[in-house]
C-alpha cells in the first residue's frame, strides 16, 4: 500500500506538479484506507466511481492551486449534486440533491476530489454521532469510544487518515468537540464567513461550516478555499480576501490571552485541566501574557442554546412532510396521516424530541418567555465577549470536559449530549470563531483538545497560536503510530 496520504499537502502538491504522482493515486489510496477502516463507519456514502472519474479527468489539467487533486470528505448535511445526501436520517435515505451547496461549488472549482459523505448525528442533532440512522461512527483511537458529534464521521475519517481534508458543520460545537475527541484540528469560523446555502439547516442563526483536518496549516488552507460572501446566503458576510495561513509560524510573544475561570472550573476533568495548564505554561514561557478572568453568562450558554437551537430546528424541519422530497409514508388515508406517519417514521427519536421541545418553546406566550429572552441574553453574552476582546487577543480553555467516552455510556440521558458541549456552545451563541487543537493524551491514550476562541473574523490569529502549540508539542496524532503519551 502506498503512503502518499501520510505526506503533507505541500509535499503532495509538489509530487502532483512534478507528475511523480497522479490524483488517482491519492483517490485509490483513500478508498483502500476506507476499506481497511470500514469498521469505523465514518462514511455513509462513498463517491467512488465519480471520484475516480474526476481524478482521471484532472490528469489533463494544470495543477493550479495547492488543493488541486486533494481528496476531501463532506459531512452528509451538505448538499452534493447527484450524490446521496442523507443527513444521517431515514427521512433522506434516498435523497439525491439536484444542486450543489455553495461550498461544494467552491471545492469543485479548486478541483478537490469528493471521496464520500461522512456519518453524523441525524440532522446534526447530538454530540456523539449515535443518533445517526446509519449507526454511530467509531473513534479510531479506541473503537469502544464515541467520536463525538455531530461531525463524528468527518472527525473519524481524518483521524484515521482515510482522507486529507474534511468539512464539518458546527451549530453548538459539532466541529470542535469531535475534533477534540479524535485528535484533529477543527475550526468553526465566524458566523457569516462560510455560505450556508445548500446546507440542510438545523439552527439557522448558529449553523456554520468549517474545515476538519490533520493539522493547523491544512485547516487554514481549506478555510481559504471555502469562505466568502455568497449572494445566495444573506447572512454571509463580505470581507476582504485574506490568507488564513499568513500568521502561521509567527512569534506569539506579547500575545494577550484570557482564560475564563468557568472553563477551568470543576465541570472539567482534572486530567484535562492539568494538560491545559501545561500548555499555558508553555505559552507564558514563549512570552504570551495569560490571565484568568471571569466572563459573565458563560454558564447560561447551554440553556440559551437549547431554546434557540430547538426552536429554530422545529421550524427548519417542517419542510420534511412527505410531499416533495425524502421519505413519504406510502398510501396514507388522508393528509394528516401522510404528515404524521411520514414524520413519525422518517425522523429518529432525538430529532423528534427536539422538534417537540422546540415547538413547545415557540408556542403561544412561550416564544416571548423563552425564545425572545434567549435572544436578549445572547446579545449580552456577545457583549461580554466583546469586552474581553477589548483587552485580549484570544481566549483559550479546554474544548471538552472529558475525553471521548464509551459508546454505551449515557444512552438514556438526553441532557448529557448538551452538557458535552458546555465549553464550545458559547462561541456559537456569540457568532465567534472557535478552534480545537490537540494538546495531548489522557492516561487512556485518548486525545485532549484545547479550545481557542477569537474575536469575529480573527481566524488568522487563532491559527497563529494553534500552530505554535502544534509545533511546540509535536504530538504524534496518527492513531496507528507510537508515542501517544
Amino acid at each position: 500500500m502506498t503512503k502518499y496520504l501520510d505526506l503533507s499537502i505541500i509535499e503532495i502538491n509538489e509530487l502532483l506538479k512534478s507528475k511523480k504522482i497522479k490524483p488517482i493515486d491519492l483517490v485509490n489510496e483513500c478508498f483502500d484506507r476506507i476499506e481497511a477502516n470500514k469498521s469505523l463507519n465514518a462514511y455513509i456514502t462513498l463517491n467512488k466511481e465519480e471520484a475516480i472519474k474526476t481524478a482521471i479527468e484532472l490528469e489533463n489539467k494544470e495543477v493550479d492551486n495547492i488543493l488541486f487533486g486533494i481528496p476531501i470528505a463532506i459531512k452528509d448535511n451538505i448538499l452534493t449534486k447527484d450524490l446521496r445526501t442523507t443527513c444521517a436520517s431515514r427521512m433522506l435515505e434516498n435523497f439525491n440533491p439536484i444542486y450543489d451547496a455553495t461550498v461544494i461549488k467552491k471545492i469543485k472549482e479548486k478541483n478537490m476530489i469528493i471521496i464520500g459523505k461522512t456519518n453524523m448525528d441525524e440532522f446534526a442533532m447530538g454530540s456523539t454521532s449515535r443518533t445517526s440512522y446509519f449507526k454511530a461512527p467509531l473513534n479510531p483511537w479506541n473503537q469502544d469510544m464515541i467520536t463525538g458529534g455531530s461531525s463524528g464521521g468527518s472527525a473519524a475519517a481524518i483521524s484515521a487518515r482515510t482522507v486529507l481534508l474534511s468539512l464539518g458543520s458546527d451549530t453548538g460545537g459539532s466541529i470542535r468537540q469531535p475534533s477534540a475527541y479524535t485528535g484533529i484540528v477543527g475550526m468553526k469560523p465566524t458566523y457569516g464567513r462560510v455560505s450556508r446555502y445548500g446546507v440542510i439547516a438545523f439552527a439557522s442563526s448558529l449553523d456554520q461550516l468549517g474545515p476538519m483536518t490533520r493539522n493547523v496549516y491544512e485547516n487554514a488552507l481549506l478555510l481559504n478555499a471555502i469562505v466568502g460572501k455568497d449572494e445566495l446566503d444573506l447572512t454571509s458576510v463580505e470581507r476582504e480576501e485574506e490568507d488564513f495561513t499568513r500568521y502561521i509560524g509567527k512569534d506569539i510573544k506579547g500575545l494577550k490571552i484570557a482564560v475564563p475561570n468557568y472553563f477551568m472550573s470543576d465541570i472539567v476533568s482534572d486530567e484535562i485541566i492539568l494538560k491545559i495548564k501545561e500548555v499555558i505554561k508553555l505559552l507564558e514561557q514563549a512570552g504570551a501574557k495569560v490571565d484568568y478572568i471571569d466572563v459573565p453568562y458563560l454558564n447560561n450558554a447551554v440553556t440559551l442554546y437549547q431554546i434557540i437551537a430547538m426552536g429554530e430546528a422545529s421550524s427548519n424541519l417542517a419542510r420534511f412532510d412527505g410531499t416533495r422530497f425524502g421519505y413519504s409514508y406510502p398510501n396514507p388515508k388522508n393528509l394528516d396521516e401522510l404528515y404524521t406517519k411520514t414524520r413519525e417514521e422518517g425522523f429518529g427519536a432525538e430529532v423528534k424530541r427536539r422538534i417537540m421541545v422546540g415547538s413547545y418553546l415557540l408556542s403561544g406566550d412561550n416564544a416571548k418567555e423563552y425564545y425572545d429572552k434567549a435572544l436578549e441574553i445572547r446579545d449580552d453574552m456577545k457583549k461580554s465577549f466583546d469586552k474581553v476582546f477589548e483587552s485580549y487577543d484570544l481566549i483559550i480553555g479546554p474544548t471538552t470536559t472529558t475525553t471521548a467516552y464509551k459508546q454505551t455510556e449515557a444512552l438514556d440521558d438526553p441532557l448529557k449530549s448538551f452538557m458535552d458541549d458546555v465549553l464550545v456552545i458559547p462561541v456559537n451563541m456569540a457568532g465567534l470563531p472557535g478552534l480545537n487543537v490537540p494538546v495531548g493524551f489522557s492516561k487512556d491514550k485518548l486525545p485532549i483538545g484545547m479550545h481557542i476562541i477569537g474575536n469575529s473574523f480573527e481566524e488568522a490569529k487563532m491559527y497563529m497560536l494553534a500552530s505554535y502549540i502544534e509545533n511546540k508539542l509535536n504530538l504524534n496524532l496518527n492513531p496507528e503510530g507510537e508515542n501517544h503519551e
Binding site: 440542510i200 445566495l232 410531499t323
Partner: protein, 472 residues
Amino acid sequence: MNDYKTTIGIEVHAELKSNTKMFSSSKNDFKTRPNSNISVIDLGYPGTLPLVNKGAVELALKAALLLNCKINKRMHFDRKNYFYPDLPKGYQITQARTPIGVDGYVEIEVDGVTKKIGIHDIHIEEDTAKSIHNETTSYLDFNRAGVPLIEIVTYPDMNSKEEAMAYLERLREILLYAEVSDCKMEEGSMRCDVNVSVSKNDILGVRTETKNIGSISSVGMAINSESLRQIKVLEDGGSIREETRRYDEASDQTILMRVKETGNDYRYFPEPDIPFIELSDEYINKIHDNLPVMPNVLRKKYKELNINDNNIKTIIANKDLCKYFESFVNDTNPVTASNLLTGDIMGYLNKNNLSINDINLDISNLKKLIKVIDDKKISSKQAKQLIPVMLETGKDVDVIINEMGMVQISDDKVLQELVDKVISANQESVNDYKAGKDRALKYLMGQIMKESKGKANPSEVNRLLVDTLRSI
C-alpha cells in the same frame, strides 16, 4: 333591530407587481403553465435560503407611504409556522413584529361626509402555492408560491357596508395608481377578508371573519348578510362564536367554514435567514418624493377644470385612460378632451375590447380633432363619424375631414347665398315666421342644412337666417 351598530375591519392581500418573487429570482407570473416559474427556493428544497426582492420592498414602501403609515426603518421578517401542502417550507415568511408600515389611514367619503379609516399595519409576506383538487387527487402548482404580497389591516373603523366599499374602492385606486398591484379581485391579485361584529353598545361584539370575497360589491353584500345573521342570532338569544366564514353569492349568505380554535398557534419567531433590513431616511425620502399623483388629487384638479363629475369618475376608474389624459390635459381644452375620451373613444374601445394603450392614439392628432370641434369646423355629428376612422386608420384628422368631405361651411358669403335661396323658395314660411310662428324658423333652418348637405355651420346659419328675416 336598528339599534345594533355594525363594526367592520378589513384585511386586504394585494399581490405586488414585481418582476420576480419575494424570496427567489423566479418570475412573478403564475398565470402560466403550472410549475413553470419555480425554483428550489420556492419548493422549500433542503438547504435553500431566502433572498430578498428589493423591488418588492420598494413597492411595499410606496404603498405604506401612500397609506400615510409610519415606516419601520429597521425591519425584519418573521416565520409563521403551520403545516399545509400549499406551504412548501412549513412556514410562511411574513412580518409579524416589524411590519414595514404602521398606524396609517385612508380617507373616504360617503354621502359627502369624509372619514379616516385607520390602517393598523401593512406588512410584506409571501403567497402560497395553489392547490387544485379533483375527486381522487390533489395537485400543487408552485408558480404562486413565494409571490410577494402586502397585507393591509385596518382598525375596526367602518360602520356600514358603504364605508367598507368606499374604503376598498379608495385603497384599490391608490394601489393601482401607485402601480403597486394590479388589484384584480376577479383574478385574485387582490383578496379581501372582512371582520364583522354587531353590538348594541360601545363594547365591540364577537367578530366573525368572512374570507376571500370576490368583488367589492360582494363585500357590501356579505357585510349586510353577515350583520343581519349575527343580529338574528343575538335576538334569538344565541351568541356569536369566533368563526371563519365564506360568502356565497348565489344564496346571499355567509357560510361557516370553521370555528376558530382558541390560541391558533403559529409559533411566530424572527426569520433567522434574513438579517434586519435598514431603510435609510434618504431612501424613504427618495421614494416619497417620487410617488405618483393620487386619484383624489386628480379628482380635485379635474373639477377645477370644469370637467363634469361623470367624466371624472370614468377617467379615474380607468387608470390607463387617466394616464393618457394626464399626458396632454394641460395643453388642450380639457372639457372637450374628456368628452371625447369618455364618450366616443371609450365607446369604440369597449366595443372592440381594447384599452387606450392598445391603439397608439397619437396625441397631436387628437388635439387637432379637439381644436376643429372647438372651432366648430366640424359638427359633433361629424366628429362621431370621424373618430372610428381616426382610431382605425390612424390617419391625420385634416386628411379624414377632406376625404369624408366634412369641412363645415362657415364662410358668411356662401352661407348668405344659401339663406337667400331658401328664403326666396319658401315665401309662405317667411310669412308664417312674420306672423310669429317659431316653427317656421326651424323649417327654414332644416331646408338650408339640407341644401348644404349638412355641411353648413348651424349656429352661423341660424344667425344669418334670423338677421335676414328681420331685415325683410
